[in-house]
Subunit: 249 residues, 2 copies
């Protein structure tokens, strides 16, 4: 048995997220379908580092799977890439020891969230950035986003009723920039793990701060109160990208 | 009767081009459907500057149409934009004299053509750039593209059997750059008019030159011979953008 780690990239628009679900088209299912063919009809289980939601994109999702024999990694990458669907790409594959697990091996993730605040929106990017039609001030958002950095209980930024017990996570980087070429807002978050819908809830809150309907101090208020009702709405998934995953070695 | 000129932007992926055709979803049809509603059920005819093909995108297509009464242009833009489909935007509207005609008033057009030469391709951009999986040398393409500038008979770069008799056009700008952020090749062409499939045929020929399967001198050869068979294949429409139209005043 040989274990492979792969970096994959996908357009989330036509996927019901990463994780296999009955009757839905998912990234995991598409990968397992292709691997089944490449493995002479024997099922291969794919494990992903993060369960991206419906509509969420990835440039650097990481998966692992086991095959009975060793393969040439470039040939394997090419086969998996070209025999799979158009909206899912295999960026790279490497052989790893069986101690590696895409989800449990310690890692940090970087997410990016794109917001189109143009008038009108860019129609080419309607599935690749979240459109926000209201006025936004950069300053308050840039001030508030810094409050997310550090080790906090992020209960107020996750969907209520989440099964995970420990909601303490560490964010090492939280930044907001404007892309010069597109004019889009680019939110970047890095950390050792993110709760369900956490990034989208943080962005939804920041946008309300930028629009002046919540004070700059609201991020702190949500972190301290752990109250989901004090945060902004969940931003749509189409602006979210799983950008990169870096594993500790 | 008041004439309006509008700049529009659309994602060509789900349109069968600009021009109205029976049983097909086209940009013209969508605009006329919305204008019919805004004009109390009386039909409004839309005239476009260029007939983009199926899959071809636009950031700066120009149209004109007549309405029986004067309207507030920003309200009209907003109504036409929000009541129309998601993949079609109204960037701006202005009132013009009835001497203006989007197609016949003298103008220059700029087209951009994006090529993804990455390994693997970017799945998010599969409908917004043409994927070219083979090796490309920039130098020969950059040398050859300059030969397109000037006034030439472009018969060798148009689809055979085109109805237009005069195939002499002037190209004022023809450039190839690499986008630093995406790594995509960006071909830019400006001129006083382009023949059917001309840009896609020019790009298809340049790509074959970049791949070493045609000599750098091939652009000159096609212009001089006027022979379509000596040019490269027609590049796919998904990489093509009608970028800007500038009218003489």
């Amino acid at each position: 048995m040989v274990r492979y780690k792969a970096v994959i990239s996908y357009d989330g628009t036509l996927f019901s997220g990463f994780q296999r679900q009955p009757e839905e088209r998912t990234v995991q299912e598409e990968l397992e379908k292709t691997l089944l063919r490449l493995n002479s009809g024997r099922p291969v289980r794919v494990h992903g580092a993060g369960r991206t939601d419906s509509g969420v994109h990835a440039y650097g999702q990481v998966i692992h799977f086991d095959l009975p024999q060793a393969r040439d990694v470039e040939k394997l990458r090419f086969a998996l890439d070209t025999q799979g669907p158009e909206d899912l790409d295999i960026v790279s594959i490497e052989e790893v020891t069986d101690e590696f697990h895409s989800r449990y091996t310690k890692h940090s993730k970087t997410y990016e969230f794109l917001v189109d605040n143009g008038q009108p929106k860019n129609p080419m990017m309607r599935n690749y950035a979240t459109y926000y039609p209201y006025h936004l001030e950069m300053r308050p958002m840039q001030e508030a986003i810094g409050d997310l950095v550090g080790t906090h209980d992020f209960s107020g930024f996750t969907a209520s009723g989440t099964a995970v017990e420990n909601k303490v996570r560490t964010i090492t980087r939280a930044e907001l920039e404007v892309d010069e070429k597109t004019g889009f807002l680019v939110f970047t978050f890095s950390g050792n793990g993110f709760l369900y819908k956490q990034v989208r809830n943080m962005v939804g809150t920041l946008l309300k701060i930028g629009n002046g309907r919540l004070p700059v101090s609201q991020i702190k208020t949500v972190l301290e109160s752990k109250d989901r009702n004090l945060a902004g709405p969940t931003a749509a998934g189409n602006g979210l990208y799983l950008k990169e995953i870096i594993y500790e070695d």
